[in-house]
Symmetry: C2
């Protein structure tokens, strides 16, 4: 059974590698629009869209022997979904608003195969330290926040995160604990 | 994690018991209409409908600690979906048409939980013996075919089935091999 990761995120690739899977990466051309409303529904929809897009581009023969994994991460704070920042100013403002507060990180995932499809999500609560303005500027200067939902990466250091309640892998963008049993079951590992 | 089987079928209950699961049965009030078109899409739709119906009747608190399993089996022969027989004459005609031939049995299933949902199906090919008319009448007289898709049960004897290619559990109406790893993963068994 061939495993295909429908995500361009180097973090997701890294996590799946860490857990010993052989897979290929195929980035979908699913068009992600700005999310609003229920964060669970939004990230599930995008995860499914990404995976299905890659799956449906396969031939019937390829489909019968493949599973495609899609994932989408959103940060939810104060009743709003925070996606990737538009620009550095947006990233700075987002980090300022999250400073000293707790927000939710929700990653939806979809594992799509010919005879089995799985849709799920995981949720973690992340508490930020009080962030000095100078630290925010320094962090944004690295450009690291620019491709990340909520404008930060828990793995980026900079003393941003005080605590994580729930899966840290989920906060990075790939709740491998939940995806693992599905993959192992499908691939009979 | 509480397991709920959204099916009134005594066969599905028996199989789930055989495999050592603790669960309760709650029959959905999902209204199953006559199926046509693609058999996989049809049985997936009904399996999902049954499970979702029971799941959505639960309180938010109950949902957070439960998974609901729905399943639907169709017999597919000569480009047509064969459901349960309308009456004994229908059962007799169905059995006559299947006599000496091979048909497909497809069971769709849905496992619906708060944070994870799984949709899948399994397909088996069943070859019938040439059935004497007297045997068909005798079998239908037992009323056993009346609540079964395709008007027969592989487990009913009567020398009806010559061979099964694929899962016999799937033909009985519950592809436990595929459902097992999902349940074990969700319940961390």
């Amino acid at each position: 059974m061939k495993i295909i990761l429908a995500s361009g995120s180097p973090r997701r690739k890294e996590i799946l590698e860490q857990f010993g899977y052989n897979f290929s990466v195929e980035v979908s051309d699913f068009c992600e629009t700005a999310a609003n409303g229920d964060p669970v529904i939004a990230c599930l929809r995008f995860a499914k869209g990404k995976a299905l897009n890659v799956f449906l581009h396969k031939s019937k023969k390829e489909r019968s022997d493949a599973v495609v994994i899609g994932a989408d991460t959103v940060v939810y704070f104060n009743g709003k979904i925070l996606g990737k920042p538009k620009d550095k100013t947006d990233a700075i403002n987002t980090l300022k608003s999250l400073s000293g507060k707790t927000h939710s990180v929700i990653t939806g995932f979809a594992v799509i195969g010919e005879k089995l499809s799985v849709f799920g999500y995981d949720q973690s609560e992340v508490e930020f330290n009080e962030l000095e303005e100078s630290l925010i500027y320094k962090y944004v200067e690295t450009s690291k926040p620019m491709d990340k939902a909520g404008s930060y990466g828990v793995q980026d250091g900079f003393n941003i995160v005080r605590s994580v309640k729930g899966s840290v892998y989920n906060v990075i963008g790939f709740p491998i604990e939940k995806i693992k049993f599905v993959l192992d079951g499908i691939t009979n590992k």
